[in-house]
Protein backbone atom coordinates (compact mmCIF):
# COMPACT_ATOMS: atom_id res chain seq x y z
CA UNK A 1 0.00 0.00 0.00
CA UNK A 2 2.94 2.33 0.41
CA UNK A 3 4.36 3.83 -2.71
CA UNK A 4 7.61 2.45 -3.82
CA UNK A 5 10.78 4.19 -2.86
CA UNK A 6 11.51 5.69 -6.25
CA UNK A 7 8.06 7.22 -6.56
CA UNK A 8 8.27 8.59 -3.07
CA UNK A 9 11.60 10.25 -3.68
CA UNK A 10 10.39 11.65 -6.94
CA UNK A 11 7.36 13.20 -5.27
CA UNK A 12 9.43 14.67 -2.45
CA UNK A 13 11.91 15.95 -4.96
CA UNK A 14 9.27 17.56 -7.20
CA UNK A 15 7.21 19.12 -4.48
CA UNK A 16 10.06 20.37 -2.33
CA UNK A 17 12.11 21.66 -5.26
CA UNK A 18 10.67 25.19 -5.03
CA UNK A 19 11.97 25.34 -1.46
CA UNK A 20 15.45 24.27 -2.47
CA UNK A 21 16.04 26.04 -5.72
CA UNK A 22 15.38 29.62 -6.59
CA UNK A 23 14.98 30.42 -10.25
CA UNK A 24 15.56 33.76 -11.95
CA UNK A 25 11.84 34.06 -12.75
CA UNK A 26 11.04 33.94 -9.08
CA UNK A 27 13.61 36.62 -8.25
CA UNK A 28 12.40 38.92 -10.99
CA UNK A 29 8.80 38.48 -9.88
CA UNK A 30 9.65 39.30 -6.30
CA UNK A 31 11.66 42.38 -7.18
CA UNK A 32 9.06 43.74 -9.59
CA UNK A 33 6.25 43.12 -7.15
CA UNK A 34 8.20 44.69 -4.32
CA UNK A 35 8.71 47.83 -6.41
CA UNK A 36 4.98 48.10 -7.10
CA UNK A 37 4.22 47.45 -3.47
CA UNK A 38 6.62 50.18 -2.39
CA UNK A 39 4.93 52.57 -4.81
CA UNK A 40 1.59 51.76 -3.21
CA UNK A 41 3.03 52.27 0.26
CA UNK A 42 4.40 55.62 -0.85
CA UNK A 43 0.99 56.58 -2.26
CA UNK A 44 -0.62 55.66 1.01
CA UNK A 45 1.98 57.58 2.99
CA UNK A 46 1.26 60.64 0.90
CA UNK A 47 -2.45 60.13 1.46
CA UNK A 48 -1.87 59.90 5.22
CA UNK A 49 0.04 63.12 5.15
CA UNK A 50 -2.26 65.12 2.88
CA UNK A 51 -5.65 63.61 3.54
CA UNK A 52 -7.92 61.27 1.68
CA UNK A 53 -8.73 64.07 -0.76
CA UNK A 54 -5.82 62.87 -2.88
CA UNK A 55 -8.22 60.21 -4.05
CA UNK A 56 -10.85 61.00 -6.65
CA UNK A 57 -13.78 60.50 -4.32
CA UNK A 58 -16.10 63.42 -3.74
CA UNK A 59 -19.62 64.21 -2.76
CA UNK A 60 -21.75 62.19 -3.55
CA UNK A 61 -19.33 59.41 -4.63
CA UNK A 62 -17.86 58.76 -1.21
CA UNK A 63 -16.79 55.20 -2.01
CA UNK A 64 -15.19 54.08 -5.23
CA UNK A 65 -11.90 52.28 -5.89
CA UNK A 66 -11.32 51.57 -2.23
CA UNK A 67 -14.49 49.61 -1.63
CA UNK A 68 -14.40 48.07 -5.12
CA UNK A 69 -11.01 46.60 -4.29
CA UNK A 70 -12.21 45.56 -0.87
CA UNK A 71 -15.16 43.62 -2.27
CA UNK A 72 -13.02 42.23 -5.09
CA UNK A 73 -10.34 40.84 -2.79
CA UNK A 74 -12.79 39.47 -0.28
CA UNK A 75 -14.42 37.80 -3.28
CA UNK A 76 -11.10 36.30 -4.38
CA UNK A 77 -10.67 34.92 -0.89
CA UNK A 78 -13.61 32.61 -1.58
CA UNK A 79 -11.41 30.65 -3.94
CA UNK A 80 -9.65 28.82 -1.27
CA UNK A 81 -11.05 27.78 2.01
CA UNK A 82 -14.60 27.52 0.71
CA UNK A 83 -13.78 25.45 -2.37
CA UNK A 84 -11.26 23.36 -0.52
CA UNK A 85 -13.76 22.75 2.29
CA UNK A 86 -16.56 21.80 -0.09
CA UNK A 87 -14.28 19.40 -1.97
CA UNK A 88 -13.04 17.88 1.28
CA UNK A 89 -16.52 17.46 2.70
CA UNK A 90 -17.78 15.86 -0.50
CA UNK A 91 -14.68 13.67 -0.68
CA UNK A 92 -13.67 14.75 -4.17
CA UNK A 93 -10.37 12.95 -4.67
CA UNK A 94 -9.11 15.23 -7.41
CA UNK A 95 -8.89 18.05 -4.88
CA UNK A 96 -5.65 16.79 -3.37
CA UNK A 97 -3.04 18.74 -5.36
CA UNK A 98 -5.06 21.97 -5.37
CA UNK A 99 -6.27 22.45 -1.80
CA UNK A 100 -3.18 24.21 -0.55
CA UNK A 101 -2.87 26.60 -3.52
CA UNK A 102 -6.50 27.47 -2.86
CA UNK A 103 -6.23 27.91 0.90
CA UNK A 104 -3.18 30.15 0.53
CA UNK A 105 -5.15 32.38 -1.85
CA UNK A 106 -7.81 32.84 0.82
CA UNK A 107 -5.39 33.90 3.50
CA UNK A 108 -3.52 36.38 1.31
CA UNK A 109 -6.63 37.78 -0.35
CA UNK A 110 -8.15 38.40 3.06
CA UNK A 111 -4.99 40.11 4.24
CA UNK A 112 -5.19 42.43 1.27
CA UNK A 113 -8.95 42.88 1.32
CA UNK A 114 -8.75 43.78 4.97
CA UNK A 115 -6.34 46.62 4.21
CA UNK A 116 -8.88 48.62 2.22
CA UNK A 117 -11.46 49.31 4.92
CA UNK A 118 -8.60 50.68 6.99
CA UNK A 119 -6.87 52.85 4.43
CA UNK A 120 -10.14 54.22 3.10
CA UNK A 121 -10.97 55.80 6.44
CA UNK A 122 -10.84 59.55 6.83
CA UNK A 123 -8.66 58.90 9.87
CA UNK A 124 -6.90 55.60 9.16
CA UNK A 125 -4.98 55.71 12.43
CA UNK A 126 -8.23 55.35 14.35
CA UNK A 127 -9.27 52.08 12.72
CA UNK A 128 -8.98 50.31 16.06
CA UNK A 129 -12.05 52.18 17.25
CA UNK A 130 -14.01 49.56 15.34
CA UNK A 131 -12.79 46.90 17.73
CA UNK A 132 -14.69 46.39 20.95
CA UNK A 133 -12.21 46.95 23.73
CA UNK A 134 -12.74 48.42 27.18
CA UNK A 135 -11.77 52.06 27.24
CA UNK A 136 -12.00 54.84 29.74
CA UNK A 137 -14.41 56.80 27.54
CA UNK A 138 -17.04 54.13 28.02
CA UNK A 139 -17.56 54.07 24.27
CA UNK A 140 -18.36 50.95 22.35
CA UNK A 141 -18.70 50.19 18.67
CA UNK A 142 -22.15 50.12 17.13
CA UNK A 143 -22.99 46.48 16.49
CA UNK A 144 -25.91 47.55 14.33
CA UNK A 145 -23.56 48.77 11.62
CA UNK A 146 -22.87 46.42 8.70
CA UNK A 147 -19.26 47.59 8.93
CA UNK A 148 -19.08 45.99 12.36
CA UNK A 149 -20.52 42.79 10.93
CA UNK A 150 -17.76 42.96 8.35
CA UNK A 151 -15.20 43.40 11.09
CA UNK A 152 -16.38 40.28 12.92
CA UNK A 153 -17.01 38.19 9.81
CA UNK A 154 -13.65 38.94 8.22
CA UNK A 155 -11.78 38.34 11.44
CA UNK A 156 -13.56 35.02 11.96
CA UNK A 157 -12.97 33.98 8.36
CA UNK A 158 -9.34 35.05 8.41
CA UNK A 159 -8.58 33.23 11.65
CA UNK A 160 -10.45 30.16 10.48
CA UNK A 161 -8.76 30.15 7.09
CA UNK A 162 -5.34 30.59 8.62
CA UNK A 163 -5.93 27.60 10.88
CA UNK A 164 -7.43 25.66 8.01
CA UNK A 165 -4.33 26.36 5.95
CA UNK A 166 -2.01 25.55 8.81
CA UNK A 167 -3.43 22.25 10.06
CA UNK A 168 -2.83 20.19 6.90
CA UNK A 169 0.50 21.96 6.57
CA UNK A 170 1.86 20.54 9.83
CA UNK A 171 2.90 17.09 8.44
CA UNK A 172 4.53 18.80 5.48
CA UNK A 173 6.38 21.10 7.84
CA UNK A 174 7.65 18.01 9.62
CA UNK A 175 8.78 16.64 6.27
CA UNK A 176 10.64 19.83 5.47
CA UNK A 177 12.08 19.85 8.98
CA UNK A 178 13.57 16.42 8.42
CA UNK A 179 14.98 17.39 5.05
CA UNK A 180 16.30 20.81 6.01
CA UNK A 181 19.48 21.74 7.81
CA UNK A 182 20.76 24.58 9.99
CA UNK A 183 18.57 27.47 11.06
CA UNK A 184 15.84 26.44 8.65
CA UNK A 185 15.55 23.16 10.51
CA UNK A 186 15.07 25.05 13.78
CA UNK A 187 12.32 27.19 12.30
CA UNK A 188 10.47 24.31 10.67
CA UNK A 189 10.85 22.27 13.85
CA UNK A 190 9.13 25.07 15.76
CA UNK A 191 6.41 25.45 13.13
CA UNK A 192 5.67 21.72 12.95
CA UNK A 193 5.00 21.70 16.71
CA UNK A 194 6.84 18.43 17.19
CA UNK A 195 4.83 16.40 14.69
CA UNK A 196 5.89 12.75 14.61
CA UNK A 197 3.14 11.22 12.54
CA UNK A 198 1.72 8.87 15.15
CA UNK A 199 -1.63 7.40 14.24
CA UNK A 200 -3.18 9.36 17.08
CA UNK A 201 -1.86 12.56 15.54
CA UNK A 202 -3.13 11.62 12.11
CA UNK A 203 -6.44 10.74 13.59
CA UNK A 204 -6.71 14.07 15.38
CA UNK A 205 -5.56 15.99 12.33
CA UNK A 206 -8.06 14.38 10.00
CA UNK A 207 -10.85 14.86 12.47
CA UNK A 208 -9.92 18.50 13.03
CA UNK A 209 -9.73 19.25 9.31
CA UNK A 210 -13.11 17.60 8.86
CA UNK A 211 -14.66 19.67 11.67
CA UNK A 212 -13.06 22.87 10.39
CA UNK A 213 -14.33 22.24 6.88
CA UNK A 214 -17.86 21.94 8.17
CA UNK A 215 -17.56 25.12 10.26
CA UNK A 216 -15.78 27.20 7.67
CA UNK A 217 -18.35 26.74 4.89
CA UNK A 218 -21.13 28.74 6.60
CA UNK A 219 -18.58 31.31 7.74
CA UNK A 220 -17.32 31.80 4.19
CA UNK A 221 -20.86 32.16 2.89
CA UNK A 222 -21.66 34.64 5.64
CA UNK A 223 -18.60 36.75 4.90
CA UNK A 224 -19.53 37.71 1.39
CA UNK A 225 -23.18 37.95 2.28
CA UNK A 226 -22.25 40.51 4.90
CA UNK A 227 -20.03 42.34 2.45
CA UNK A 228 -23.03 42.54 0.13
CA UNK A 229 -25.09 43.89 3.02
CA UNK A 230 -22.79 46.89 3.23
CA UNK A 231 -24.75 47.93 0.19
CA UNK A 232 -28.04 46.09 0.57
CA UNK A 233 -28.67 47.57 4.02
CA UNK A 234 -28.49 51.06 2.57
CA UNK A 235 -31.66 52.43 1.03
CA UNK A 236 -29.97 53.73 -2.09
CA UNK A 237 -31.36 52.87 -5.52
CA UNK A 238 -30.13 49.50 -6.84
CA UNK A 239 -28.34 48.76 -3.57
CA UNK A 240 -31.35 47.92 -1.49
CA UNK A 241 -31.77 44.47 -2.98
CA UNK A 242 -32.74 41.28 -1.18
CA UNK A 243 -30.74 39.06 -3.49
CA UNK A 244 -27.42 40.82 -3.00
CA UNK A 245 -26.33 38.18 -0.49
CA UNK A 246 -26.47 35.15 -2.81
CA UNK A 247 -25.51 37.32 -5.80
CA UNK A 248 -22.30 38.37 -4.10
CA UNK A 249 -21.51 34.89 -2.80
CA UNK A 250 -21.89 33.46 -6.31
CA UNK A 251 -19.77 36.30 -7.70
CA UNK A 252 -17.16 35.71 -5.04
CA UNK A 253 -16.81 32.02 -5.79
CA UNK A 254 -16.82 32.88 -9.49
CA UNK A 255 -13.88 35.26 -9.24
CA UNK A 256 -12.26 33.04 -6.63
CA UNK A 257 -12.13 30.02 -8.91
CA UNK A 258 -10.78 32.20 -11.69
CA UNK A 259 -7.97 33.34 -9.40
CA UNK A 260 -7.29 29.76 -8.38
CA UNK A 261 -7.03 28.59 -11.99
CA UNK A 262 -4.59 31.39 -12.75
CA UNK A 263 -2.49 30.66 -9.68
CA UNK A 264 -2.40 26.94 -10.52
CA UNK A 265 -1.41 27.60 -14.11
CA UNK A 266 1.47 29.82 -12.99
CA UNK A 267 2.65 27.36 -10.34
CA UNK A 268 2.44 24.51 -12.82
CA UNK A 269 4.64 26.31 -15.31
CA UNK A 270 7.12 27.94 -12.95
CA UNK A 271 7.77 24.94 -10.74
CA UNK A 272 7.34 22.32 -13.48
CA UNK A 273 4.55 20.51 -11.70
CA UNK A 274 2.87 19.34 -14.89
CA UNK A 275 2.51 15.84 -13.47
CA UNK A 276 0.68 17.08 -10.41
CA UNK A 277 -1.56 19.84 -11.70
CA UNK A 278 -3.01 18.02 -14.62
CA UNK A 279 -5.52 18.96 -17.29
CA UNK A 280 -8.19 17.17 -15.27
CA UNK A 281 -7.88 19.74 -12.50
CA UNK A 282 -8.26 22.60 -14.92
CA UNK A 283 -11.12 20.77 -16.57
CA UNK A 284 -12.98 20.21 -13.31
CA UNK A 285 -12.40 23.75 -12.07
CA UNK A 286 -13.37 24.97 -15.53
CA UNK A 287 -16.69 23.17 -15.18
CA UNK A 288 -17.21 24.84 -11.81
CA UNK A 289 -16.34 28.17 -13.39
CA UNK A 290 -18.85 27.49 -16.15
CA UNK A 291 -21.57 26.75 -13.62
CA UNK A 292 -20.85 29.99 -11.81
CA UNK A 293 -20.69 31.97 -15.03
CA UNK A 294 -24.21 30.77 -15.80
CA UNK A 295 -25.28 31.45 -12.23
CA UNK A 296 -23.77 34.92 -12.41
CA UNK A 297 -25.61 35.65 -15.61
CA UNK A 298 -28.86 34.39 -14.13
CA UNK A 299 -28.47 36.55 -11.02
CA UNK A 300 -27.50 39.62 -13.03
CA UNK A 301 -30.39 39.13 -15.38
CA UNK A 302 -32.84 38.70 -12.52
CA UNK A 303 -31.49 41.79 -10.75
CA UNK A 304 -31.65 44.06 -13.78
CA UNK A 305 -34.93 42.69 -15.09
CA UNK A 306 -36.75 43.44 -11.85
CA UNK A 307 -35.31 46.94 -11.79
CA UNK A 308 -36.34 47.58 -15.39
CA UNK A 309 -39.82 46.12 -14.98
CA UNK A 310 -40.41 47.82 -11.63
CA UNK A 311 -39.66 51.12 -13.32
CA UNK A 312 -39.16 52.91 -10.01
CA UNK A 313 -37.84 56.32 -11.10
CA UNK A 314 -34.74 56.57 -8.89
CA UNK A 315 -33.73 53.00 -9.66
CA UNK A 316 -34.46 53.45 -13.35
CA UNK A 317 -32.02 56.35 -13.50
CA UNK A 318 -29.19 54.18 -12.21
CA UNK A 319 -30.30 51.31 -14.43
CA UNK A 320 -30.30 53.44 -17.57
CA UNK A 321 -26.89 54.90 -16.82
CA UNK A 322 -25.48 51.40 -16.77
CA UNK A 323 -27.36 50.00 -19.76
CA UNK A 324 -27.10 52.92 -22.13
CA UNK A 325 -25.63 55.87 -20.28
CA UNK A 326 -22.25 56.95 -19.02
CA UNK A 327 -21.43 53.57 -17.51
CA UNK A 328 -22.57 51.53 -20.53
CA UNK A 329 -19.07 50.81 -21.90
CA UNK A 330 -18.00 49.41 -18.56
CA UNK A 331 -21.26 47.54 -18.12
CA UNK A 332 -21.11 45.78 -21.46
CA UNK A 333 -17.42 45.02 -21.01
CA UNK A 334 -18.41 43.34 -17.77
CA UNK A 335 -21.07 41.24 -19.51
CA UNK A 336 -18.62 40.24 -22.22
CA UNK A 337 -15.89 39.40 -19.70
CA UNK A 338 -18.09 37.50 -17.27
CA UNK A 339 -20.29 35.64 -19.72
CA UNK A 340 -19.86 36.15 -23.44
CA UNK A 341 -16.20 35.13 -23.56
CA UNK A 342 -15.84 32.57 -20.75
CA UNK A 343 -19.15 30.75 -21.25
CA UNK A 344 -18.42 29.27 -24.70
CA UNK A 345 -14.78 28.59 -23.83
CA UNK A 346 -15.79 26.61 -20.78
CA UNK A 347 -18.83 24.97 -22.32
CA UNK A 348 -17.02 23.50 -25.30
CA UNK A 349 -14.99 20.53 -24.15
CA UNK A 350 -12.25 21.08 -26.67
CA UNK A 351 -11.67 24.63 -25.54
CA UNK A 352 -11.74 23.72 -21.85
CA UNK A 353 -8.00 23.12 -21.88
CA UNK A 354 -5.46 24.67 -19.59
CA UNK A 355 -4.93 27.68 -21.80
CA UNK A 356 -8.68 27.93 -22.40
CA UNK A 357 -9.53 28.05 -18.72
CA UNK A 358 -6.71 30.53 -18.11
CA UNK A 359 -8.09 32.90 -20.73
CA UNK A 360 -11.58 32.52 -19.30
CA UNK A 361 -10.24 33.17 -15.81
CA UNK A 362 -8.47 36.33 -16.88
CA UNK A 363 -11.60 37.81 -18.42
CA UNK A 364 -13.67 36.73 -15.43
CA UNK A 365 -11.35 38.56 -13.05
CA UNK A 366 -11.58 41.75 -15.12
CA UNK A 367 -15.34 41.39 -15.41
CA UNK A 368 -15.86 40.78 -11.73
CA UNK A 369 -13.76 43.79 -10.75
CA UNK A 370 -15.93 45.87 -13.07
CA UNK A 371 -19.05 44.34 -11.56
CA UNK A 372 -18.12 45.60 -8.09
CA UNK A 373 -17.22 49.02 -9.46
CA UNK A 374 -20.55 49.17 -11.29
CA UNK A 375 -22.46 48.30 -8.18
CA UNK A 376 -20.85 51.06 -6.17
CA UNK A 377 -20.25 54.10 -8.34
CA UNK A 378 -23.38 54.49 -10.53
CA UNK A 379 -25.63 54.32 -7.49
CA UNK A 380 -23.61 56.82 -5.52
CA UNK A 381 -23.17 59.28 -8.36
CA UNK A 382 -26.92 59.50 -8.92
CA UNK A 383 -28.60 60.06 -5.58
CA UNK A 384 -32.31 60.67 -5.28
CA UNK A 385 -32.17 64.46 -5.21
CA UNK A 386 -30.99 65.12 -8.75
CA UNK A 387 -29.45 68.44 -7.76
CA UNK A 388 -26.58 66.50 -6.18
CA UNK A 389 -25.57 64.28 -9.05
CA UNK A 390 -21.87 63.84 -9.42
CA UNK A 391 -19.24 61.85 -11.22
CA UNK A 392 -16.07 60.06 -10.38
CA UNK A 393 -12.63 59.70 -11.84
CA UNK A 394 -9.84 57.82 -10.06
CA UNK A 395 -6.56 59.56 -9.35
CA UNK A 396 -3.08 58.16 -9.73
CA UNK A 397 -3.01 57.43 -5.99
CA UNK A 398 -6.00 55.13 -6.06
CA UNK A 399 -4.71 53.35 -9.14
CA UNK A 400 -1.25 52.94 -7.61
CA UNK A 401 -2.70 51.45 -4.47
CA UNK A 402 -4.92 49.10 -6.47
CA UNK A 403 -2.02 47.91 -8.63
CA UNK A 404 0.24 47.74 -5.59
CA UNK A 405 -2.10 45.38 -3.80
CA UNK A 406 -2.13 43.04 -6.79
CA UNK A 407 1.66 43.07 -6.65
CA UNK A 408 1.50 42.50 -2.92
CA UNK A 409 -0.66 39.45 -3.47
CA UNK A 410 1.75 37.98 -5.99
CA UNK A 411 4.64 38.76 -3.67
CA UNK A 412 3.03 37.05 -0.71
CA UNK A 413 2.20 34.06 -2.85
CA UNK A 414 5.69 33.86 -4.28
CA UNK A 415 7.24 33.97 -0.83
CA UNK A 416 4.80 31.34 0.39
CA UNK A 417 5.75 28.92 -2.37
CA UNK A 418 9.38 29.42 -1.37
CA UNK A 419 8.79 28.55 2.27
CA UNK A 420 6.11 25.88 2.16
CA UNK A 421 5.24 23.07 -0.24
CA UNK A 422 2.51 24.54 -2.41
CA UNK A 423 1.06 21.11 -3.04
CA UNK A 424 0.18 19.14 0.08
CA UNK A 425 2.76 16.34 -0.05
CA UNK A 426 1.16 13.98 2.43
CA UNK A 427 -2.30 14.51 1.02
CA UNK A 428 -1.03 13.79 -2.43
CA UNK A 429 0.75 10.64 -1.34
CA UNK A 430 -2.27 9.55 0.65
CA UNK A 431 -4.35 10.03 -2.47
CA UNK A 432 -2.11 7.62 -4.36
CA UNK A 433 -2.50 5.07 -1.59
CA UNK A 434 -6.22 5.49 -1.00
CA UNK A 435 -7.44 5.50 -4.54
CA UNK A 436 -4.84 4.41 -7.02
CA UNK A 437 -5.67 6.91 -9.71
CA UNK A 438 -3.97 6.15 -12.99
CA UNK A 439 -0.89 8.21 -12.50
CA UNK A 440 2.27 8.79 -14.49
CA UNK A 441 4.46 7.57 -11.65
CA UNK A 442 2.76 4.22 -11.67
CA UNK A 443 3.29 3.78 -15.34
CA UNK A 444 6.35 1.62 -15.77
CA UNK A 445 6.71 2.45 -19.44
CA UNK A 446 6.71 6.16 -18.67
CA UNK A 447 3.89 6.89 -21.09
CA UNK A 448 1.21 9.02 -19.50
CA UNK A 449 -2.09 7.23 -19.19
CA UNK A 450 -5.15 9.35 -19.84
CA UNK A 451 -6.29 10.75 -16.54
CA UNK A 452 -9.53 9.57 -15.02
CA UNK A 453 -12.59 11.59 -15.81
Amino acid sequence: MQNDKATNEKINDDLLRPLRQTGWAWRVTVVVCAIFLLAAVAAFAYQLQRGIGVWGINRPVFWAFDITNFVFWIGISHAGTLISAILRVTGAEWRRPITRCAEAITVFALMIGGIFPIIHLGKPMLFYWLAPYPNERGLWPNFRSPLMWDFFAINAYFTGSLIYLYLPLIPDLALVRDKATGWRKTIYAKLSLGWRGTQRQWHALEKAVQVMAVIIIPVAVSVHTIVSWDFAMAIQPMWHSTMFGPYFVAGAIFSGIAALILAMAVIRKVFHLENYLQPIHFNNLGLLLLTLSLLWFYFTFAEYLTTWYGNEPHEKVVFQSKISGAFAPLFWTMVVCCFVIPMPILAIKKLRSISGTVIASLTVLVGMWLERFLIIVPTLSQPRLTFNWGSYRPTIFEITIAVGTVAYFILLYAVFTKLFPIIAVWEYKEGLTVSPLPHPHHDPAGATIATAE
Binding site: N135, E136, R137, G138
Partner: protein, 172 residues
Protein backbone atom coordinates in the same frame (compact mmCIF):
# COMPACT_ATOMS: atom_id res chain seq x y z
CA UNK B 1 21.48 31.09 20.24
CA UNK B 2 22.54 31.92 23.83
CA UNK B 3 23.87 35.31 22.74
CA UNK B 4 20.71 36.04 20.77
CA UNK B 5 18.64 35.35 23.85
CA UNK B 6 20.76 37.72 25.93
CA UNK B 7 20.40 40.54 23.41
CA UNK B 8 16.69 39.89 23.20
CA UNK B 9 16.33 40.11 26.96
CA UNK B 10 18.44 43.25 27.17
CA UNK B 11 16.41 45.00 24.49
CA UNK B 12 13.21 43.89 26.19
CA UNK B 13 14.32 45.28 29.54
CA UNK B 14 15.44 48.53 27.89
CA UNK B 15 12.04 48.94 26.24
CA UNK B 16 10.27 48.25 29.51
CA UNK B 17 12.36 50.87 31.30
CA UNK B 18 11.73 53.40 28.54
CA UNK B 19 7.97 52.77 28.69
CA UNK B 20 7.99 53.09 32.46
CA UNK B 21 9.94 56.36 32.30
CA UNK B 22 7.61 57.76 29.65
CA UNK B 23 4.60 56.75 31.66
CA UNK B 24 6.05 58.36 34.78
CA UNK B 25 6.81 61.54 32.92
CA UNK B 26 3.30 61.62 31.48
CA UNK B 27 1.70 61.10 34.85
CA UNK B 28 3.62 63.90 36.56
CA UNK B 29 1.34 66.79 37.52
CA UNK B 30 1.79 69.64 35.09
CA UNK B 31 3.15 72.65 36.89
CA UNK B 32 4.32 75.30 34.44
CA UNK B 33 6.32 78.32 35.58
CA UNK B 34 4.11 81.38 35.70
CA UNK B 35 5.17 84.98 34.96
CA UNK B 36 4.54 85.72 38.61
CA UNK B 37 4.95 82.98 41.19
CA UNK B 38 1.43 83.28 42.51
CA UNK B 39 0.85 81.28 45.70
CA UNK B 40 -2.70 79.94 46.14
CA UNK B 41 -2.03 78.70 49.68
CA UNK B 42 -0.93 82.11 50.86
CA UNK B 43 -4.13 83.74 49.59
CA UNK B 44 -6.62 81.05 50.61
CA UNK B 45 -5.36 78.80 53.40
CA UNK B 46 -2.63 80.66 55.28
CA UNK B 47 -4.00 81.21 58.80
CA UNK B 48 -3.02 84.88 58.99
CA UNK B 49 -3.53 85.48 55.27
CA UNK B 50 -6.46 87.14 53.52
CA UNK B 51 -8.35 83.77 53.36
CA UNK B 52 -9.98 84.53 50.02
CA UNK B 53 -12.69 82.42 48.39
CA UNK B 54 -12.09 80.98 44.94
CA UNK B 55 -14.70 83.21 43.37
CA UNK B 56 -13.11 86.31 44.81
CA UNK B 57 -10.66 86.15 41.94
CA UNK B 58 -12.29 83.66 39.54
CA UNK B 59 -15.43 85.68 39.73
CA UNK B 60 -17.25 84.50 36.60
CA UNK B 61 -17.17 80.80 37.45
CA UNK B 62 -20.84 80.80 38.42
CA UNK B 63 -21.90 83.21 35.69
CA UNK B 64 -20.32 82.01 32.49
CA UNK B 65 -18.54 79.21 30.73
CA UNK B 66 -15.15 80.48 31.87
CA UNK B 67 -13.99 80.88 35.46
CA UNK B 68 -11.67 83.69 34.30
CA UNK B 69 -8.37 84.82 35.71
CA UNK B 70 -8.61 88.23 37.33
CA UNK B 71 -7.48 91.39 35.70
CA UNK B 72 -4.33 92.79 37.24
CA UNK B 73 -6.28 95.68 38.76
CA UNK B 74 -8.01 93.16 41.06
CA UNK B 75 -4.60 92.12 42.35
CA UNK B 76 -3.45 95.70 42.72
CA UNK B 77 -6.57 96.46 44.75
CA UNK B 78 -4.76 94.92 47.69
CA UNK B 79 -1.15 94.89 46.58
CA UNK B 80 -1.02 98.65 46.10
CA UNK B 81 -0.44 98.58 49.85
CA UNK B 82 0.10 94.98 50.93
CA UNK B 83 3.49 93.27 50.83
CA UNK B 84 5.01 95.78 48.46
CA UNK B 85 8.45 94.59 49.55
CA UNK B 86 8.00 91.10 48.03
CA UNK B 87 9.91 90.73 44.74
CA UNK B 88 6.95 88.93 43.14
CA UNK B 89 4.59 91.77 44.11
CA UNK B 90 7.11 94.19 42.66
CA UNK B 91 6.90 92.24 39.39
CA UNK B 92 3.15 92.63 39.61
CA UNK B 93 3.44 96.35 40.21
CA UNK B 94 5.73 96.64 37.21
CA UNK B 95 3.07 94.96 35.04
CA UNK B 96 0.47 97.35 36.43
CA UNK B 97 2.68 100.31 35.68
CA UNK B 98 3.14 99.14 32.07
CA UNK B 99 -0.63 98.57 31.92
CA UNK B 100 0.07 95.04 30.77
CA UNK B 101 -1.46 91.71 31.80
CA UNK B 102 0.86 88.90 32.76
CA UNK B 103 0.78 86.01 30.29
CA UNK B 104 -0.48 83.32 32.63
CA UNK B 105 0.14 79.80 31.45
CA UNK B 106 -2.98 77.67 31.39
CA UNK B 107 -2.89 74.70 33.72
CA UNK B 108 -6.30 73.19 33.04
CA UNK B 109 -7.52 73.05 29.47
CA UNK B 110 -8.91 70.67 26.89
CA UNK B 111 -7.04 69.61 23.83
CA UNK B 112 -8.56 71.65 20.98
CA UNK B 113 -8.94 68.43 18.99
CA UNK B 114 -11.21 67.05 21.69
CA UNK B 115 -13.93 69.48 20.57
CA UNK B 116 -15.07 69.90 24.18
CA UNK B 117 -17.31 72.81 25.09
CA UNK B 118 -17.16 73.00 28.85
CA UNK B 119 -19.06 75.53 30.89
CA UNK B 120 -18.27 76.31 34.54
CA UNK B 121 -21.66 77.80 35.26
CA UNK B 122 -23.86 74.69 35.41
CA UNK B 123 -21.21 72.85 37.38
CA UNK B 124 -20.91 75.59 40.01
CA UNK B 125 -24.69 75.88 40.15
CA UNK B 126 -24.89 72.15 40.82
CA UNK B 127 -22.79 72.80 43.93
CA UNK B 128 -19.75 70.95 42.74
CA UNK B 129 -16.79 72.10 44.80
CA UNK B 130 -13.95 73.69 42.86
CA UNK B 131 -11.59 71.20 44.47
CA UNK B 132 -13.54 68.27 42.98
CA UNK B 133 -12.20 69.05 39.55
CA UNK B 134 -9.10 71.12 40.29
CA UNK B 135 -7.59 69.25 43.20
CA UNK B 136 -6.58 70.83 46.48
CA UNK B 137 -5.60 74.17 45.02
CA UNK B 138 -6.01 76.04 48.36
CA UNK B 139 -3.03 74.11 49.70
CA UNK B 140 -0.81 74.57 46.65
CA UNK B 141 2.20 76.79 46.82
CA UNK B 142 2.61 76.49 43.08
CA UNK B 143 -0.37 75.81 40.84
CA UNK B 144 -0.26 72.43 39.21
CA UNK B 145 -2.62 70.04 37.43
CA UNK B 146 -3.61 67.41 39.92
CA UNK B 147 -6.72 66.01 38.25
CA UNK B 148 -6.67 64.50 34.81
CA UNK B 149 -9.70 65.66 32.90
CA UNK B 150 -10.22 62.62 30.74
CA UNK B 151 -13.52 61.82 29.12
CA UNK B 152 -13.99 58.76 31.30
CA UNK B 153 -13.54 60.95 34.37
CA UNK B 154 -16.22 63.40 33.20
CA UNK B 155 -18.64 60.62 32.24
CA UNK B 156 -18.18 58.83 35.53
CA UNK B 157 -19.35 61.88 37.47
CA UNK B 158 -22.21 62.51 35.04
CA UNK B 159 -23.35 58.93 35.50
CA UNK B 160 -23.14 59.12 39.28
CA UNK B 161 -25.12 62.33 39.39
CA UNK B 162 -27.58 61.10 36.77
CA UNK B 163 -26.74 63.98 34.46
CA UNK B 164 -27.14 63.47 30.73
CA UNK B 165 -24.26 61.69 29.02
CA UNK B 166 -25.50 62.75 25.62
CA UNK B 167 -22.50 63.54 23.41
CA UNK B 168 -24.00 66.92 22.53
CA UNK B 169 -23.74 68.00 26.17
CA UNK B 170 -20.00 68.49 25.70
CA UNK B 171 -19.12 67.91 22.03
CA UNK B 172 -20.57 69.82 19.14
Amino acid sequence: MKRGLKIFLLVGVAILIAVWLAWRAASQPVAPDQPIAYNHWQHISKPDGPQLDCDFCHEYADKSAHATIPNITTCMGCHEAVKTDSPEVQKLAAYAQRQEQPKWVRVYFFDPEADVFFSHKPHVKANIACTDCHGNVPQLQKMRREVKHTMGWCIECHRQRKVSIDCYVCHR
